[in-house]
């Protein structure tokens, strides 16, 4: 299953434990491969069968399906631990990230974008709350999702997402460069972000404060020559300052998935808009003209009873045309 060169890589990177930096660097350059001794070969075989029992596979730097784009990242991982659908590695990949504190509306927009992007790309993201969770929620139903962990593949950070992690391992793909049992450290998030950027053709930032990890991913993407996209924010919202900063610096401004698809020459996503009639159409038109509006103000302006308005808004919400933005306010989604 693994060629002898691959076994050497696995031995050097994961089994030996002697952290031979010079040797590893040589492998990245395409050399430094030697034949394993009998004892080394046995240890590697035992290690591989242990992983197999746990349903974990290894992708090495020399594997056929090692993502080409990742090789151009800085310090590309020599082995990647994976669980789930290995074939996703070969698809076109697009990264969606966001900080853990993401406003509810941005989560909803992010989820929808992720859902549409997952039609053409495998969505790459982390496993955190907020932006990552929105990207996962959008792409997981289609199973077109890679989630890269900042810890060993048998760990889970945050622990609250353990069940979500299980689902991704079944329906999507989990990746990690760390040996089993490795916990998280401050640097491991940064290191993970280089893989996110390295795997993907572009990065969409859903939310980022001034010092957000999402900005590091975007920075890496720029280093590797990938496209950077960002969601625009109102002035004065701290969770969006990083996004607006990226746009100022030249990132693509994204309000719909079409903004991303045109960059890659893909036919923009067309949803046949769910049919609306009567009150629903009137409300949707009003929301599109006025922006975010409180239910009571909307009902007053359109001369409706308030509970009629909230019923119609709830219908629009189910149809995916409007969203509740908090405090009984609604806005149109497109």
């Amino acid at each position: 299953m693994y060629s002898s060169e691959e076994k050497t890589v696995i031995y050097e990177a994961a089994v030996s434990g002697n952290n031979n930096r010079a040797g590893l660097a040589a492998i990245r350059k395409g050399g430094g491969l030697r034949v394993l001794s009998k004892e080394e070969d046995d240890r590697t075989a035992a290690f591989l069968s242990m992983l197999e029992k746990k349903g974990i596979f290894l992708v090495t730097f020399l594997s056929d399906d090692y993502p080409e784009s990742l090789k151009y990242a800085s310090d590309p991982p020599l082995v990647l631990y994976g669980m789930g659908k290995r074939e996703l590695l070969q698809r076109r990949k697009f990264c969606i990230v966001g900080s853990r504190i993401t406003p509810p509306w941005a989560e909803k927009v992010g989820k929808r974008l992720s859902e549409e992007i997952s039609e053409h790309f495998t969505v790459v993201t982390g496993l955190a709350e907020g932006g990552d969770a929105a990207a996962i929620a959008g792409a997981l139903p289609r199973g077109n999702l890679i989630s890269v962990l900042p810890c060993g593949i048998d760990g889970c950070y945050p622990a609250a997402h353990a069940a979500l992690k299980e689902r991704i391992a079944k329906e999507g793909l989990l990746l990690s460069e760390y040996p089993l049992g490795t916990g998280t450290a401050k640097f491991s998030f940064h290191a993970r972000n280089r893989i996110l950027a390295g795997l993907s053709e572009g990065v969409l930032v859903l939310s980022a404060g001034v010092k957000s990890g999402a900005l590091i991913t975007a920075g890496k993407a720029l280093d590797y020559g990938r496209d950077v996209f960002a969601l625009p924010y109102n002035v004065g919202i701290s969770q969006g300052e990083g996004c607006n900063g990226l746009i100022k610096a030249g990132a693509y401004l994204v309000t719909s998935s079409a903004d991303i698809f045109t960059v890659y020459g893909i036919e923009p996503h067309r949803t046949e808009e769910a049919a609306t009639e009567g009150d629903e159409s009137r409300i949707l038109k009003y929301l599109r003209e006025q922006g975010e509006t409180h239910v009571a103000a909307l009902a007053e302006a359109l001369g409706m009873r308030i509970f009629e308005a909230s019923a119609a808004l709830s219908a629009l919400e189910i149809k995916g045309l409007a969203t509740k933005t908090g405090g009984n306010k609604y806005s149109a989604l497109s």
Binding site: P104, A160, A315, E317, N328
Partner: protein, 506 residues
């Protein structure tokens, strides 16, 4: 000579007849009490002795034995004082010619001979009446409470002397006149929806909740009027019927929280503080089990402000009474069942800082903090709350629609109409309101139009709702349709019901 006097002991909300027997014999003066009296009953000896002396009567200096029958029931409290005194008088032949058979004597004695009011008089009277007793001598201080019980001769007495004069026919006490029950007669609450500024969505949710007997949860930043709205709940609930009022009064009487007016005429509104213990919430006590807050809220509203601040065990204890409408508490002194059919209204902030989901203020909580905060309220409890509504901090000065200025009585009128529909629907079943429907009733009474059914399916597909959430949405939609006087549940009713689910969607 032996005298037998009837008195009553209380077990939960049930009165149990107790015969007080006094035997006065010749011999060395002594005073024995048998038949499981507790300390308060034993101490009655001194009260009775002084009361007799200070009423100008004689305490017999003989060998006295007092027996309480049935002997296996623990006798607690001071309500036996009057019966003991009368039995002594009768046994020592100081009440010649007086007829004491079939009269129930109730009351605690003061040393001066005055009769003090007792707790739990009304439930005793109701039980005794059902046991066939029709004549009662009760403390004057309990007269208001007893006035509403028709079909019995009730004599309120101020002192032991009065009782003796009444019994020997020197100065009869006039029996109490029965008073008609008028709902809302002794209104204490001044809450009214007309004082609530704005909040049209919460108002509507309140109306639906009351109309269908649903529990509700209000979520919103501090200072947006959640408590004020909750206080209006009893004012839009249907007026108390006499039977309901009697049942509530019984509980309040046993707990000793009955006001001077003697009967509860408006629906209770209980707001236990979030430091409340499980025992204070559900009822309990060392020997006698006192009704807890959920029983005191019977027929009314239990309002839990800042729901996540309550102890988790306390909240979990509410689940079973919310299903059964009663609570059974077991203690060393016995097992007692108190009614607890209340409407639960809770309020909470969306997150520890209160700004999560707010459109104009930024929430500073981390996701882990929000999760921890929400997790304090368990899923199973949230499952029993059909309506969840957001209360916002918008000013409504420029809004003129009638819905934001209505008063409680207008809402109550619509609620009564919706309840009437439900009364007809559930005729002959133990169910009173839509909220109590089970799966069988949902299938039977909640007809969806074909279009409505399709929309509902789509909605559940898209929102990924559980089967339980589906049942709750249908129940709320049924109530909304009732308020609309519609036989079928139309799509708009379903959509509106969906909009009252906050924490399924997040």
């Amino acid at each position: 000579m032996i005298a037998k006097i009837i008195c009553y002991a209380l077990s939960g909300l049930e009165g149990i007849p107790v015969e007080v027997e006094a035997d006065v014999n010749k011999g060395v003066p002594s005073y024995d009490m048998v038949g499981l009296p507790d300390t308060a009953v034993k101490e009655s000896r001194e009260r009775v002795r002084s009361a007799l002396k200070n009423s100008g009567l004689l305490f017999p200096m003989n060998r006295i034995t007092i027996n309480f029958a049935p002997a296996d029931l623990k006798k607690e409290g001071a309500a036996f004082d009057l019966a003991i005194a009368i039995s002594l008088l009768k046994a020592s032949e100081q009440l010649l010619g007086a007829e004491v058979k079939d009269i129930v004597f109730l009351g605690e004695l003061a040393l001066t001979g005055d009769i003090r009011p007792i707790n739990g008089l009304l439930p005793i009277l109701i039980s005794a009446k059902s046991h066939g007793f029709t004549k009662f001598i009760i403390p004057e201080g309990n007269a208001e409470e007893a006035r509403y019980l028709g079909g019995a001769e009730i004599y309120p007495a101020a002192s032991l002397g009065d009782v003796v004069r009444h019994l020997v026919g020197m100065q009869p006490i006039l029996p109490l006149e029965t008073r008609m029950f008028v709902p809302g007669q002794h209104k204490k609450s001044t809450a009214d929806l007309k004082y609530v500024k704005g909040q049209p969505i919460a108002r509507r949710a309140l109306e639906i909740a009351v109309a269908g007997g649903h529990n509700m949860l209000m979520s919103g930043p501090p200072g947006t009027g959640k408590t004020m709205l909750a206080r209006c709940l009893p004012t839009v609930m249907p007026d108390l019927t006499f039977d309901e009022a009697l049942e509530i009064t019984k509980i309040h009487s046993v707990a000793g929280v009955l006001g001077e007016e003697g009967i509860v005429t408006e629906r209770p509104f209980r707001t236990p503080h979030h430091t409340a213990t499980t025992v204070s919430m559900c009822g309990g006590g060392n020997k006698i089990v006192h009704p807890g807050e959920i029983s005191l809220a019977h027929g009314g509203v239990l309002f839990l402000d800042e729901l996540p601040e309550y102890k988790r065990s306390t909240l979990e204890a509410l689940r079973q009474p919310l299903e059964d409408g009663c609570i059974t508490v077991s203690r060393a002194g016995g097992t007692f069942t108190y009614p607890a059919r209340f409407m639960l209204c809770a309020s909470m902030n969306p997150c520890p800082c209160g700004n999560y989901g707010s459109a104009d203020r930024i929430c500073t909580c981390t996701p882990a903090e929000i999760r921890r905060y929400r997790r304090k309220v368990s899923g199973p409890l949230l499952d029993r709350i059909d309506l969840q509504v957001e209360v916002d901090n918008i000013t409504y000065d420029d809004l003129t629609s009638e819905e934001v200025n209505e008063d409680s009585s207008a809402v109550q009128k619509r609620v009564n109409e919706a309840r009437q529909i439900q009364r007809v629907r559930f005729e002959g079943t133990p169910i009173h309101t839509n909220a109590e429907m089970g799966e069988k009733e949902i299938q039977e009474f909640c007809h969806l139009t074909r279009e409505g059914d399709k929309i509902l399916r789509d909605a559940f597909e898209r929102m990924k709702l559980s089967a339980r959430a589906r049942a709750r949405i249908i129940k709320v939609a049924r109530t909304i349709a009732d308020l609309d006087a519609s036989e079928d549940i139309l799509p708009k009713h379903v959509f509106e019901a969906v909009s009252y689910r906050l924490y399924d969607k997040i």
